[in-house]
Amino acid sequence: MSRTVAALLRKELLVELRTLESVPAMSLFAVTTFVVFHFALNRSVVDGDLAAGILWVTLLFAAILGVNRLFVADADQGGFDAFLLAPVDRTAMLVAKVITLLAYLVVLELVAVPAFALLLLGPSIGDALPDLIGVLALGDLGVAVIGTLVAALAVRTRARDLLGPLLGLPLLVPIVIGGARATSPLLASVHPTAPAARWLLTLGLYDLVFGLIAYALFDFLLED
């Protein structure tokens, strides 16, 4: 299966590099949203709960842009059929798409987190960064798994641009809640502390449950 995953990943990377359809749009959306928050809140800096909420909600909506585009080239250019005709394990496509979306989210965060620190965040992000990376990684994994599942379900429908967010957002809200609660103490102006273990466990468990659901369902989503 690793050979198939590698072939799919290489294809995903080439298509994204040539079209630049997903990652630039996601990054631009996130930065623009921070600018809008900066003016709309009429505050030059935010911290704690508010900062964590703004960061996670922005990342969530930016991720939805990537989720909506994830299978479009495959659906529109016959990639699904070509894959289904090959004697390969269909889980390879799930794995490749999850890794692809994870990579998109990492690049998004490489742009969005410094922009957030620059435009809105009060406390310095330096000390919080190692823990923040851990929380973001747990959140990203869940977003990537759920996003892939939802995108595969929505892409073959006529209302795919509507159905993706409609199905995805309710499933992704627990990740935003867990992520924001875990991030909030990291971004506190006074006495920042490590994230509470229960929120990290919640994120980890949610990732695991949806990882298993995706593994069980994905083959059926590709079937006629």
């Binding site: 198939t4 072939a7 294809k11 080439l14 040539r18 059929d81 070509a82 289904l84 005709l85």
Partner: protein
């Protein structure tokens, strides 16, 4: 054992019946040519045989595997050339074929061999979106035979190809390829010349099924009236 055995095949899209009561047998190495007006069910038949659509009724056996239960046994043994080239527009011809080669476990050398066979070596490093439709169709032919399939499912394989290109792809998908073939066609003369067995579809139902030697052009023309 027959390469294809279909009995009472039916397939619906929602309420609409796309195929109904299709029964046929095709021996290995033979060519079945399917005629019929637009919407007659030709493409649906090919997609069922390719395991991309499930039959809703009847029995379908392809290369000894019963569909859909044994679809796994068919994948990788069938080459499908449909209306869509099944190629990514942003990738080059070479990148597309290498991608398919990796999915099918085929060596990269086969990619060069086929690009050469369809005279696309010189343009093989250009994105597909910059190529003409005829050139894309030539790459699609190379993609369909990349893994040396036993059964070729060809939906109007010569569309967009000029006479020189038709001659070029003939060793790959023509009778000289010695593969079992199912071809959808609107060309009575060319189709009859290729066929061992002829199936005529009208409204998803078989209106003609006979050895090619017993079919004349007027019978095919009748399908389109």
């Amino acid at each position: 054992m027959a390469a294809l055995h279909v009995e009472g095949l039916a397939r619906r899209y929602g309420e609409r019946e796309a195929l109904s009561g299709v029964t046929l047998t095709l021996e290995a190495g033979q060519t079945l040519v399917v005629f019929g007006p637009n919407g007659a069910g030709k493409t649906t038949l090919l997609r069922v045989l390719a395991t991309l659509l499930r039959p809703h009724a009847g029995t379908v056996s392809v290369l000894g595997s019963i569909l859909p239960e044994q679809s796994w046994g068919v994948r990788g043994r069938v080459g499908l050339l449909g209306h869509e080239p099944l190629l990514y527009r942003e990738l080059t011809a070479r990148e597309n074929l290498r991608f398919h080669a990796r999915l099918h476990g085929v060596a990269d050398g086969r990619v060069d061999e086929l690009l050469d066979a369809v005279a696309m070596t010189a343009r093989g490093r250009e994105p597909l979106r910059t190529l003409s439709r005829g050139m894309v169709q030539r790459v699609a032919v190379a993609r369909a035979v990349l893994h040396d399939p036993e059964l070729l499912l060809l939906d109007e394989p010569h569309s967009n190809l000029d006479p020189a290109a038709i001659e070029l792809v003939s060793p790959l998908i023509g009778s000289a390829s010695r593969r079992t073939r199912v071809i959808c066609s609107h060309d009575p003369t060319g189709g009859l010349a290729e066929a061992d067995v002829v199936l005529g579809l009208r409204g998803g139902r078989p209106a003609l099924l006979a050895p090619a030697s017993e079919v004349d052009r007027s019978q095919i023309a009748e399908l389109y009236r």
